[in-house]
C-alpha cells in the first residue's frame, strides 16, 4: 500500500556571495597615444619578458608615451598596496599578465 508523505524539508543554502567591494570600472581609454601604461608582471618566469615585448608593441604601434614596469613579489597573492597605489597614481591604464 502506498504511503502518502507530507514530509517537507527546508534546506539552508551552503553558498556565500562575495561581499560587494564598492569598486567601479575605470572609464575605457579612447586611445593609447601619449598615454602612460603600467605593466604589472605577476612574478612568474617569463611574465616580465612577455610584458616587455608587449610594451615595445604599445610604443611602436600605438604611440604609448611611457611604460611603468612593476612586478608582484608573489604570483599567488594580491599585489601589495604600495605597488597598486603607485600604478594607480601614475598610469592611465595597467596591463597585467601571467607567465610560466
Amino acid at each position: 500500500m502506498a504511503v502518502e508523505t507530507t514530509e517537507r524539508l527546508t534546506l539552508l543554502d551552503p553558498r556565500v556571495d562575495a561581499r560587494p567591494r564598492g569598486t567601479v570600472r575605470a572609464p575605457r581609454l579612447a586611445e593609447l597615444r601619449g598615454k602612460r601604461i603600467g605593466l604589472l608582471a605577476n612574478g612568474k618566469p617569463n611574465s616580465e619578458e612577455f610584458l616587455a615585448a608587449l610594451g615595445t608593441l604599445l610604443r611602436e604601434r600605438y604611440g604609448v608615451a611611457e611604460l611603468v614596469p612593476a612586478r608582484k613579489p608573489n604570483a599567488s597573492r594580491v599585489a601589495p598596496d604600495a605597488i597598486l597605489n603607485e600604478l594607480g597614481g601614475r598610469c592611465d591604464a595597467v596591463v597585467t599578465a601571467t607567465g610560466d
Binding site: 527546508t10 534546506l11 539552508l12 551552503p14 556565500v16 562575495a18 561581499r19 560587494p20 599567488s76 594580491v78
Partner: protein, 347 residues
C-alpha cells in the same frame, strides 16, 4: 543569545528530492550530499557551542567571509556527525590563516588540496583512522571531515573547477584529504607537540599538498637506507621547494626508532639528503641554462629541517611510507596548526 540562521531557505518535498535538488543547485562535489536541513545545522552548531554568525575565517582575495553557519551547513552535507564540527572549524581556521595562502593554492594550475592531519585525544573520540589504508576510504570521520573542507571551498570560496579552481590535474584528495597520526604506536612526539602545542590538546595541521607519493623500501635495515628512499621520492626531478609531509609506516618506523632516531633526526637527515644536482635538473629542463663545470657537485637546496613534517601513520606489514609534496606554489603556502575547540573569537 544565539543568532538566527540567515542562509537562504530552499523548500523541497522529501529527502531523495533534496539530494537531487542539491545536485541541481551545483552544491556538491559530484557525490550525493546529506540535505542540510535547518534542524540538523542547528544541532551541529549547538554541539560545538558556536553562534551561527561567528566568523571562522576570511578569504580577502575573494571578498568572502566564512561563518560558523556556513561551515556547519557544509559539514552536514559532507556527512559529518555533530562531534566532527569542532575539527572542521579548526581546519577552516587553519586554511584561512594568511600564511596558508588559501586563494592561491586553491586557484592554482598546480592542483593541490588542503590535507588535514589530526592529533590529540579527538582522534580516538571520533574513531579516526591512523592505521591501515590511512589515506584511503572506509572511516567516516576521516572521509567526512576532509570532504567538509572541500565543500566549504566549493560553496563558500567558490573554488569551482574551471572557474576559481584551475587545477591542471587535480587529485583524489580533492574529494577528501584527512588523516590522523598514530600517536599510540610510536615513541615519537606527535606532530602538534612538535609544532608547539600541549600533548593533551587536540589539533589539526593543514597543508596544501599534492597527492601522496609512495616510498617502497623492503630491505633497508638502517635509518639511512630507509630515509634515503624517502629523500629520493622527495627530490624527484620536478620537485617543489616547500613543506613536505613524510608519513612513515610502522615497518619503516621500527627500523628508524630502533636506532634511536627522533623525528628531529629524521628531519635533519632528509633536509640534507633530499637533493638533486644542478646538472640533473638542467638535463631535464627543470633549471634553465646549459650544464656547466661543477653542476654535478652543486645541489640547489630543496627543504630546510623545519619544512619537513614527520607523521607516524599507516598499516603494519607493508614496507610503504608516503611523501606528500607541497603545492607547486611552494613557499607561498606554509602548513598551519590550530587547536581544536579553542575559542574562535576570543573576548
Amino acid at each position: 543569545m544565539v543568532s538566527e540562521l540567515t542562509s537562504v531557505r530552499h523548500e523541497v518535498p522529501d529527502t531523495l528530492e533534496a539530494i537531487e535538488y542539491c545536485y541541481r543547485q551545483g552544491w556538491t562535489d559530484g557525490l550525493p550530499v546529506v540535505p542540510p536541513t535547518q534542524e540538523r545545522v542547528r544541532e551541529f552548531l549547538a554541539y560545538a557551542g558556536l553562534d551561527p554568525e561567528t566568523v571562522v575565517g576570511e578569504v580577502p582575495d575573494r571578498a568572502r567571509v566564512i561563518t560558523a553557519e556556513k561551515v556547519a551547513i557544509n559539514a552536514v552535507m559532507a556527512g559529518c556527525l555533530p562531534a566532527y564540527l569542532p575539527v572542521v572549524v579548526a581546519a577552516v581556521q587553519a586554511m584561512a590563516a594568511d600564511e596558508f595562502c588559501l586563494h592561491g593554492s586553491m586557484a592554482s594550475t598546480g592542483g593541490a588540496a588542503p590535507l588535514v592531519i589530526v592529533n590529540g585525544p579527538v582522534r580516538t573520540e571520533l574513531e579516526m583512522n591512523a592505521g591501515v589504508n590511512v589515506f584511503g576510504a572506509g572511516t567516516r570521520a576521516n572521509a567526512t571531515i576532509g570532504r567538509a573542507l572541500r565543500l566549504v571551498l566549493l560553496n563558500v570560496c567558490d573554488a569551482r573547477p574551471g572557474v576559481l579552481d584551475q587545477a591542471t590535474m587535480g587529485h583524489p584528495g580533492k574529494y577528501s584529504y584527512c588523516i590522523a597520526e598514530d600517536e599510540e604506536a610510536t615513541v615519537w612526539q606527535p606532530l602538534h607537540v612538535e609544532r608547539g602545542l600541549p600533548r593533551e590538546l587536540s589539533a589539526v595541521t593543514v597543508l596544501a599538498g599534492e597527492a601522496p607519493h609512495y616510498v617502497k623500501n623492503a630491505f633497508g635495515t638502517t635509518p639511512e637506507e630507509v630515509l634515503t628512499s624517502v629523500a629520493d621520492v622527495m627530490a624527484h626531478a620536478s620537485y617543489t621547494q616547500g613543506a613536505y609531509l613524510v608519513v612513515l609506516a610502522p615497518e619503516h618506523r621500527a627500523v628508524i626508532e630502533r636506532a634511536g632516531w627522533s623525528k628531529a633526526d629524521v628531519r635533519a637527515y632528509l633536509a640534507e639528503h633530499a637533493r638533486r644536482s644542478a646538472a640533473e635538473l638542467k638535463r631535464v629542463g627543470y633549471l634553465r641554462g646549459k650544464i656547466e663545470a661543477g653542476d654535478n657537485q652543486r645541489f640547489p637546496p630543496l627543504v630546510s629541517e623545519d619544512e619537513v613534517l614527520v607523521v607516524a601513520a599507516g598499516g603494519s606489514g607493508g614496507t610503504f611510507s608516503a611523501v606528500v609534496p607541497p603545492w607547486a606554489g611552494g613557499r607561498s603556502s606554509a602548513p598551519v596548526t590550530r587547536a581544536v575547540g579553542a575559542c574562535v573569537e576570543c573576548e
